[in-house]
């Protein structure tokens, strides 16, 4: 008993030492750093370290007191066997913390006055574990403070108290308070404007809202370093417990400390929304396992089934062999052990001297009883003990035992891809929008294309390629309607068969089409493939893409960022809203459908009927085509001259905002 206590003591002492070292480091960093956000981060770690030190020290205190008490009670009469049953521990996870703000509408909408910004973060404390969330800068353009972190506390008991504290710090001009003498400060504050003067005064106040209060009675308290720089103050707090645990999002009340006069004030709505889930160990781990003999009541008394049983969650799983448990094989049968189950020891079996355990459940309207028996008295006793413990756990953990709540372990997050900082709106439009999603789709399509290529032998083109072949009689009838149009547009002959490697014609018009379908697409490779295709095929991005696959095979090219950007913009469909017209897997059969070319010609006006008829010829498996009209994004990018990117993106915007359309977005 003493050894474990000593070990726990030294553990905590080590933790305290570690935190003190962290705190010293944070202080030094705070003193040394010049940038505001660095200082804020350092101050946040300082705050977290201080809180952890306080928590560890109070735990140490408590342990010392407990030790002393134990020594006292041991000397006196025996306190009796520890008969109190302890519930099992569990994991508690809190995620998706969201704190709504309540700005005055004058502040929010009119955006008047200077932007008052605060840096906030949350400290979450359960038992001896303290975690902090990332820091978020809040100003009046935000409606909620969102913390994306998911925090998992292991080793929580059902009577846990999860304390959520919101700390904030004014993140404005550096009021390094320490240096300004008091008289000067008061003079300054009276001569500065009312609000900034108030802030200055507040920041210089020594510690009315000091986060680390020295009110604790612990004699081991180390001096709290007073460091110049930003200081976090407690803005709001709340305590969550088992009754707040639920497998969905819930709103809880916050207790707000501080008032409008404080520099760190934020207009909180007064509640916090989060998902608090708990996984007690009895639901996730095997509580008891061993060999049993099971008989169903009502069955013939000699039909005992020998099984290896495992008690976990709300069932007793019975396997034929012990190896099955690890092998993840389906159990032979399962007996439910939940709140409605009744377990009792039956009278002694006349044959053996061992008591049986009867487990009764209600299935539907009927009562089903299983009888369990073991080989020895001790085993029966142990199983009964396990069942009682299980029932106790379920009664303590209450709603957490109904169903297993999912807790995701916070995955190591990849660093966010750095967006290239480019000045023009042009680039911003491309990167910000969900155009990227279409390239995901294009990946899927390209893979399909590659599959298709593999299926047809290398070197020969897919059968539909013959459509573009000069000599093919099948195609005789087709291209003629388009020749008249072609003549006006491209100098090339419409019937050039693209077997040979790409000729270096630059075809900007083709860039308009769904050129991103092929992975290695760029303007060059596309234009050479099907020179006449783009004229009557623009409503069939799938067709086009399939034909572009062969040269991409012959001449794979890595995509430069510019080329990729230009192809993305040149898409015939899908503007900023990520509206998705082209289906993911265009069946090649649709390519042979004769295209109603006549309907394609009136491209000048944005008529939704035209869009519908043209896009319905592409592929039938797109549900978007069967519904009403869609955003005529396809009509936007299809003029036969390439509009400037800015104009195109504007047109996309207008298409999105057009109320006649019913936008759909791929997510």
């Amino acid at each position: 008993m003493d050894n474990s206590a000593c070990r726990r003591d030294s553990d905590i002492q080590k933790k305290i030492d570690h935190e003190i070292r962290m705190r010293d480091g944070a202080c030094k960093l705070l003193a040394a750093c010049s940038q505001r956000d660095q200082a804020l981060e350092a101050a946040k770690s300082l705050q977290t370290c201080s809180t952890r030190i306080m928590a560890y020290m109070s735990e140490l205190q408590r342990m010392k007191e407990a030790q002393v008490m134990q020594k006292v009670t041991r000397r006196s009469s025996d306190a009796g066997p520890m008969d109190d049953r302890l519930p099992c521990k569990g994991k508690v996870a809190i995620s998706d913390l969201r704190i709504p703000l309540m700005w005055k509408d004058t502040e929010y909408f009119k955006n008047k006055g200077e932007l008052h910004r605060c840096a906030v973060f949350c400290l979450l404390q359960l038992g001896g574990e303290i975690f902090d969330t990332d820091m978020v800068i809040v100003d009046r353009t935000l409606t909620d403070i969102c913390f994306d972190n998911a925090i998992v506390f292991t080793d929580a008991s059902p009577g846990f108290e999860l304390r959520v504290e919101l700390y904030s710090c004014c993140s404005e001009d550096d009021y390094s308070a320490g240096s300004t003498p008091r008289k000067l400060a008061s003079k300054l504050s009276s001569s500065l404007g009312r609000s900034s003067g108030k802030k200055l005064r507040a920041s210089m106040e020594p510690g009315a809202c000091s986060p680390v209060s020295n009110g604790g009675a612990s004699p081991l308290l180390l001096p709290v370093p007073s460091v110049p720089g930003p200081k976090y103050h407690l803005l709001a707090h709340t305590t969550l417990s088992l009754s707040h645990v639920q497998d969905s999002f819930r709103t809880h009340d916050l207790t707000i400390s501080g008032n409008e006069e404080c520099s760190y004030w934020l207009p909180l709505y007064g509640s916090v929304c989060c998902r608090l889930a708990a996984q007690p160990l009895c639901m996730t781990q095997q509580m008891m396992s061993g060999c049993l003999k099971v008989k169903q009541c009502g069955a013939d008394p000699q039909s005992w089934t020998k099984v290896h049983a495992a008690l976990k969650g709300s069932s007793l799983f019975c396997y034929h062999r012990q190896e099955d448990v690890e092998a993840n094989v389906e159990p032979a049968f399962t007996i439910a052990i939940n709140k409605e189950t009744r377990i009792r020891a039956s009278e002694k079996d006349p044959q053996s001297k061992v008591q049986n355990i009867c487990v009764s459940n209600q299935y539907g309207g009927e009562e089903v009883t299983h009888t369990l028996t073991t080989d020895s008295r001790e085993d029966t006793h142990r199983w009964m003990e396990a069942f009682w413990q299980h029932f106790y756990d379920m009664s303590q953990w209450k709603q957490c035992c109904d169903d297993l709540m999912k807790i995701e372990l916070p995955s190591p997050r990849k660093p966010a891809p750095a967006t290239p900082k480019q000045g023009s709106l042009y680039h911003e439009m491309v990167i910000e929008s969900s155009d990227d999603l279409s390239s995901t789709v294009s990946d899927i399509l390209a893979r399909r294309l590659q599959e298709l290529e593999l299926r047809s032998q290398l070197g020969t083109s897919p059968t539909w390629m013959s459509l573009f072949e000069e000599d093919n009689p099948k195609s005789a009838g087709r291209p003629s309607p388009c020749t008249s149009r072609l003549s006006g547009r491209s100098p090339r002959t419409p019937h050039r068969f693209p077997r040979s490697p790409v000729s270096p014609h630059r075809c900007p018009q083709l860039g308009l089409l769904s050129s991103d379908v092929s992975l290695t697409s760029d303007s060059d490779s596309q234009c050479s493939t099907s020179p006449c295709s783009h004229h009557h095929n623009w409503p069939e991005p799938s067709n086009f893409s399939l034909s572009s696959s062969s040269p991409s095979r012959l001449r794979p090219r890595t995509l430069s960022l510019d080329a990729k950007l230009s192809t993305l913009r040149g898409r015939g469909y899908g503007g900023g809203g990520g509206t998705f017209q082209c289906p993911c897997q265009p069946p090649p059969s649709s390519l042979l459908v004769p295209i109603p070319i006549s309907s394609c010609s009136p491209r000048s006006q944005r008529s939704t009927q035209t869009t519908l008829s043209c896009s319905s010829s592409t592929s039938s498996n797109s549900s978007s085509n069967s519904e009403g009209s869609h955003s005529p994004e396809s009509s936007e990018g299809l003029p036969f001259s390439r509009p400037s990117p800015a104009r195109r993106s504007l047109r996309n915007l207008r298409a999105r905002l057009d109320p006649r359309n019913w936008l759909q977005s791929q997510v």
């Binding site: 539907g364 999603l437 990946d443 549900s623 109320p659």
Partner: protein, 129 residues
């Protein structure tokens, strides 16, 4: 599923959890949504009430994460990770679903067949489950 905005509504809802699939740099869910308060509700083919401006699932990518999670075409999405979706613009709805920082989305969805299923099961109380 029709409701008067501002008044409480009662629906049978199902919670669906979808784990996003990482494809290169993107996290995809594998379905398409339509609707929103800035969209024309009359063109929604899935809604019963043609004044419903909610967000509906219009397409499910076969083999995608949404299909694996039993999301169905025609479902109306009520909430995403606690955020309301019954009264949002289309783009906001899309953004709520495509948050790059979240790996999992928990949707609260409803569909006509859920109500029917509940009614059906309530009509047979003695059925063995």
């Amino acid at each position: 599923m029709s409701f008067v905005p501002g008044q409480p509504m009662c629906v049978v809802a199902q919670q669906i959890e979808i784990k996003k699939l990482r494809q290169g740099d993107h996290l995809i869910l594998g379905f398409s949504i339509g609707g929103g308060i800035d969209q024309d509700p009359g063109q929604n083919p899935f809604s019963e009430d043609k004044t419903d401006k909610g967000i509906y699932v219009t397409r499910i990518t076969p083999g995608g994460p949404a299909e694996a999670a039993n999301l169905m075409m025609g479902d109306k999405i009520l909430q995403v990770n606690g955020w309301d979706m019954t009264m949002v613009p289309h783009d906001k709805a899309r953004k709520r679903l495509t948050n790059k920082k979240e790996d999992v989305v928990r949707l609260l969805v409803t569909r006509k067949t859920l109500e029917e299923a509940v009614k059906h099961s309530m009509g047979y109380p003695n059925q063995c489950h």
